[in-house]
Assembly symmetry: C2
DNA sequence: TTTGGTTATCTCAGGACTGAGCGATTTTAC
DNA sequence: GTAAAATCGCTCAGTCCTGAGATAACCAAA
């Protein structure tokens, strides 16, 4: 004699909630692989992100770096401080803007990222190998659309 | 006279790395929506996860709860402590196992989650509205496959 | 029963990061 | 040319959470 549970969510919401769950779990799982790799080199994911960004883009203003790896303003200062203490990154003055600073890789930092990046790439490929190449490309397309749309409707991003 | 950059990654790895990026960004964007909603009720995402899980599954052993919301063993103790202090959750002894504890919602906790869940569901639906219903179902399928496979190849998960 | 191995939770020290607010600089408007 | 507004990075107090170890309870075998 049990009564049916109340319809707490419409079908549309049910699908959306399921998508949220699998998205979070997939991201966490893949992240787990990546972290395990990165941690063996004594780096946090955020530190690795900084090194990777500088490796591929060259010197970057701290603000650009911040937006790229998605940390707070205090976070990027903290990260660059720590990487500087490790001798992997340096700050350079920006000639056009006295407020801004460039972050650049030192020789040692460049050598480190060049050494560990190939392993990282292989590990990522392995982590996503559950999908075929075609499926990966489908997923990329869907996730890019999803991410863009979600960003656009975020309140604080007025643009 | 610039030489071509060295092939740092194979095409397979390039696709995998791109997938990692869009996956992380999509998860972060959707997470942003959810957090903004949850924070207005004075809850952290992890706290909300606990309430949501108990709301839908009923009383749960702490260990099951821990695996469900993906926190460390210390984390689940901390979360249940804090929710207990807020009067939203209680611990109950487990008759069959003296080591284990159930977490259950209090009246107040049940009332809170019942009140805020509909808004949450609507917000999630809005956050993923950049994809059509069909696309959402494709994404769910792909992400579920991806997550499962990634978990299975994670070293510490032997099963 | 006793012993040892597992499992479930808790304790606690510490780390990564946030976010509000600050000074310094640049840009814009008058 | 100067005052107001915006932008950049930094400081710092505080938060959430991790992870290694401790404690207690269960279970199987001798």
């Amino acid at each position: 004699m049990k009564s049916a549970p109340p319809p707490v969510a419409s079908p549309r919401e049910t699908v959306a909630l399921k998508l949220l769950v699998v998205l979070s779990r997939a991201a966490a799982s893949v992240h787990g692989h990546v972290m395990a790799d990165i941690a063996t080199h004594g780096l946090t994911p955020a530190e690795f992100g900084v090194l990777e960004a500088l490796h591929h883009k060259g010197p970057l203003l701290l603000g650009d770096l911040q937006r790229k790896i998605l940390v707070s303003s205090g976070g990027i200062t903290f990260l660059v401080d720590r990487l500087t203490a490790k001798g992997l990154v340096e700050r350079k003055a920006c000639p056009e803007d006295g407020r801004a600073r460039y972050a650049t890789l030192t020789r040692k930092g460049e050598a480190l990222i060049a050494r560990i990046f190939p392993t990282h790439a292989a590990r990522v490929a392995e982590a996503v190998a559950g999908l075929t190449r075609t499926e990966q490309e489908q997923a990329i397309h869907l996730l890019r659309t999803l991410g863009r749309a979600a960003d656009a409707t975020l309140p604080e991003n007025s643009e």
